[in-house]
């Protein structure tokens, strides 16, 4: 049963990570416009091909 000593904290840590991620997404206002987010994903013009900094500037 000694395996529990580290398995249980590991499970808890995973759960906490999920909670922190959710609180972060809430803080960064990702739930303010739920319907808009669903529609924005349909427009892909944020990947402008002419935008040079996008592809070539990587080190």
């Amino acid at each position: 049963m000694t395996v529990l000593i580290y398995l249980v904290p590991a499970a808890l840590a995973l759960g906490l990570t999920g909670l922190v991620a959710f609180l972060w997404s809430l803080r960064s206002r990702q739930y303010d416009d739920m319907e808009g987010a669903a529609l924005r994903v349909l427009s892909d013009d944020d990947l402008a091909p002419s935008d040079e900094s996008y592809s070539t500037d990587a080190p």
Binding site: A11, D33, E35, R40, S43
Partner: protein
């Protein structure tokens, strides 16, 4: 004369950047978001433009030295969207913060409930688990549950403390007590290496209750956002003289002493006195009177009246003693303070529930002690009673139904202003209607359209599209093809003319069309002349009933409701309407004080009165009623005092409000009875000391799920109701 637009009261400034919030009409699809945002961002000076699709709003930030708010509005108009600025209410900002806090609490409670349950299931099923492992699991549960409950329980603890300070009991008092006792007892038991701990029950209870509370709050925020948008849509603009220059300002920015220009067809933006000019004004929104009033220099005019014929200059005055506004405000103050505070069903249940449960727990301790049990065991059993009765089902019984019912009403075009309106709608037995703008449409309609040559009518209607005169709007609504004629010229106060098929057509007053006045004037009926190519027709416009008024009135009567008309208009204008609707009980010419008196008399007979009205003169009556409703076209003060606002031209929402509320109350009662039944089964088990954490968890989640499922039934069975026309700016309701 060029006129600048001054929106400065809506603009917030920060380091040279200006910020405005706009409600945008007709955002309907994904491409609208892109069109608006990209279109605005292309303009130099605009820093950020962001559409919130859920509540149909747009926020724009721009550098103030480069642009003005007017430029943003006109840029938006060029892209093809009409936007309305508004001042976000303080309450709305506070509610947004509260909503986010609730979701945070919900997330923390969810995390705790899941992880503690994970450990608890292991303890329940691990029959061969040794004591050290069990203690380790219990301590781990305590480590998760205690800090999480301390955080996620705050909404309940704070509300409970507030209630106790006010020497009252609400549902949060037993909830807080139950959670704290469960946690405290579990901690003591864990320290004593005991077999049972209730950390899972406490965290699960918090999680379920927070789910209900978050949903309830989200629904209320949503309806409020739509109501604010609709108010923004109604924002009136005034033309103010700044020296010799004319500036367009929102009516909210007007101050006493401002000089204003009121053109024909405009609504009077504020109370004041006419300085110069003569005109006829339509005060149906103010007094309910449908006959036009002649005004000249020195006459007092009220916000909400429509200027019909001439152009007026006016000075804004504060409400003086003896004016109608003053009387309405005085009556309102009295009515609002006299209104006895309605005790919600949930609070009534809590007042009954808390003493009973706490007495049961006390009796359990005494009973077990008398039977010879140890002090420790007796207290543990009593706490188990408190945990098992902890009002999970009871606390969810009402909010869940409320969420479902207000969602149904929202889709039917009824926006609730107050949280307990549903309960009060359900109790109504008498409905008092105002006439003008409530039973009738807010604008006059052409009533002899059928008797006129369709080709002539179509031409007159299309010509009317070019006029700003209020009566022209009623003619224009007859147009099948909504396309104005080119080169139409409006002669203010007289009419509009244009060349159609080579000959001149005129629409307007009799004299303007070259016709002789017959001298026959029926009060409340307006005559509009149309002449084209030698042919002449006379159109008459009058207040007409809402299209479904007769049907809805009949349906309300079928509900067993007493109906009554209480109007500020002349009795001879009310009589025909009452006859058509076969409402025997009607009164005309009632001023605000008489309306209140009539409603007080009904209340004295023990009746629960629903008042439906729109005029400024109805506001005190609305405040005095058991529950009240007003159409979206109502005067601002009136709408602020209504418990619900309905959209569209139909009267059906009044029926919907009552029908849905009655059904909702039935389901609420069922839920409460269900909670009682649950306790009747669970409490004896707890008193006998047979409750284990497993039983507590199963009972709690089972009853919560059942109550919630039952609440969903409030959605169904809206027989006889049609889908409401979708109003502009309406966000889709949560299901």
């Amino acid at each position: 004369m060029t006129e600048t637009l001054d929106l400065s009261i809506f603009v917030k400034r920060h380091d040279g950047t200006a910020h405005i919030e706009l409600a945008v009409e007709d955002i309907g699809c994904a491409s609208c978001i892109r069109k608006i945002e990209d279109g605005l961002k292309k303009i130099p000076g605009i820093v950020e433009a962001r559409v919130n699709f859920t509540n149909r709003r747009l926020t724009v930030d721009w550098r103030e030295d480069e642009l003005g708010a007017g430029d943003v509005m006109s840029a938006l108009a060029r892209i093809g969207y009409r936007a309305h600025p508004f001042e976000p209410e303080r309450a709305e900002a506070e509610e947004a913060l509260y909503a986010r806090w609730l979701v945070k609490c919900l997330a923390v409670a969810g995390f705790a409930a899941m992880n503690v349950m994970l450990l608890s299931v292991a303890v329940w099923s691990g029959t061969d688990m040794d004591q050290d492992t069990r203690d380790f699991f219990h301590w781990l549960s305590a480590l998760i549950a205690l800090p999480c409950a301390a955080y996620a329980g705050q909404p309940f603890f704070q509300s409970a403390v507030k209630a106790i300070r006010a020497r009252q009991l609400n549902m949060d008092v037993p909830i807080s007590l139950g959670v704290l006792l469960a946690l405290g007892m579990s901690l003591v038991e864990t320290a004593g290496h005991a077999e049972h701990a209730y950390f899972d029950s406490a965290t699960m209870l918090l999680f379920f209750l927070l789910c209900g509370r978050t949903l309830d709050h989200a629904m209320r925020r949503k309806t409020r956002a739509v109501a604010t948008n609709l108010a923004a849509l109604k924002t009136e603009f005034a033309h103010r003289f700044d020296g010799s220059e004319l500036v367009q300002v929102p009516a909210a920015a007007l101050k006493t002493g401002d000089r204003l220009l009121v053109r024909s067809g405009d609504r009077v933006p504020a109370d004041g006195i006419v300085l110069s000019g003569t005109s006829e004004i339509d005060e149906s929104l103010v007094t309910g009177e449908t006959t036009l009033r002649d005004v000249g220099a020195g006459a007092a005019i009220h916000a909400g009246a429509v200027n019909f014929s001439g152009t007026l200059t006016m000075r804004v005055t504060a409400a003086g003693t003896g004016t109608l506004i003053d009387e309405v405000e005085r009556l309102l103050e009295k009515a609002v303070t006299a209104k006895s505070r309605y005790v919600r069903l949930a609070d009534r249940a809590a007042r009954l529930y808390a003493p009973v449960v706490h007495a049961t727990a006390a009796l359990t301790v005494i009973g077990w002690l008398a039977a010879g049990a140890s002090v420790h065991d007796s207290i543990i059993t009593a706490i188990a009673v408190l945990i098992i009765t902890c009002p999970c089902a009871l606390a969810l019984a009402i909010p869940t139904v409320q969420v479902v019912a207000s969602g149904v009403l929202f889709r039917a075009g009824v926006i609730l202003n107050s949280g307990d309106a549903i309960e009060r709608f359900a109790e109504v037995d008498t409905v008092v209607f105002d006439k003008t703008g409530t039973l009738t449409l807010p604008e006059p309609r052409v009533d002899n359209a059928a008797a006129i040559d369709p080709a002539m009518l179509e031409r007159a209607a299309r010509l009317a599209l070019s006029s700003r005169h209020p009566l022209a709007a009623s003619v224009a609504s007859e147009a099948r093809e909504r396309q104005p004629f080119e080169g139409a010229i409006e002669e203010p106060g007289q009419g509009v003319r244009a060349l159609i098929d080579g000959s001149e057509a005129r629409l307007g007053s009799l004299a303007f069309c070259g016709m002789t006045d017959t001298g026959l004037h029926e009060p409340g009926v307006s005559t509009i002349a149309f002449a084209h190519a030698g042919r002449e027709v006379l159109l008459t416009a009058r207040q007409s009933l809402r299209p479904d008024a007769e049907k809805t009135i009949a349906a309300l009567r079928a509900f067993g409701l007493d109906l009554m008309i209480l109007s500020g208009d002349r009795p001879d204008a009310v009589a025909p309407i009452a006859r058509t609707l076969s409402i025997a009980n009607w009164r005309g010419g009632a001023d605000p004080a008489e309306k209140i008196a009539a409603i007080e008399a009904l209340k004295a007979q023990g009746r629960r009165v629903l008042v439906v009205g729109d005029g400024l003169n109805d506001a005190p009556a609305l405040a005095a009623a058991h529950v009240s409703m007003s159409p979206i076209s109502a005067a601002d003060i009136t709408q602020a005092h209504a418990d619900a606002v309905f959209l569209g031209v139909r009267l059906q929402p009044v029926w919907d409000a009552i029908a849905v509320s009655r059904r909702a109350r039935r389901v609420m009662r069922q839920n409460l009875w269900f909670a009682v039944l649950y306790n009747a089964v669970a409490v004896p088990i707890a008193i006998l000391g047979l409750v284990t954490p497993l039983i507590a968890a199963a009972a709690m989640s089972g009853s919560s799920v059942l109550v919630t499922l039952n609440a969903l039934r409030a959605r169904f069975g809206r027989e006889g109701s049609h889908a409401a026309e979708t109003p502009a700016l309406t966000a889709r309701a949560a299901s």
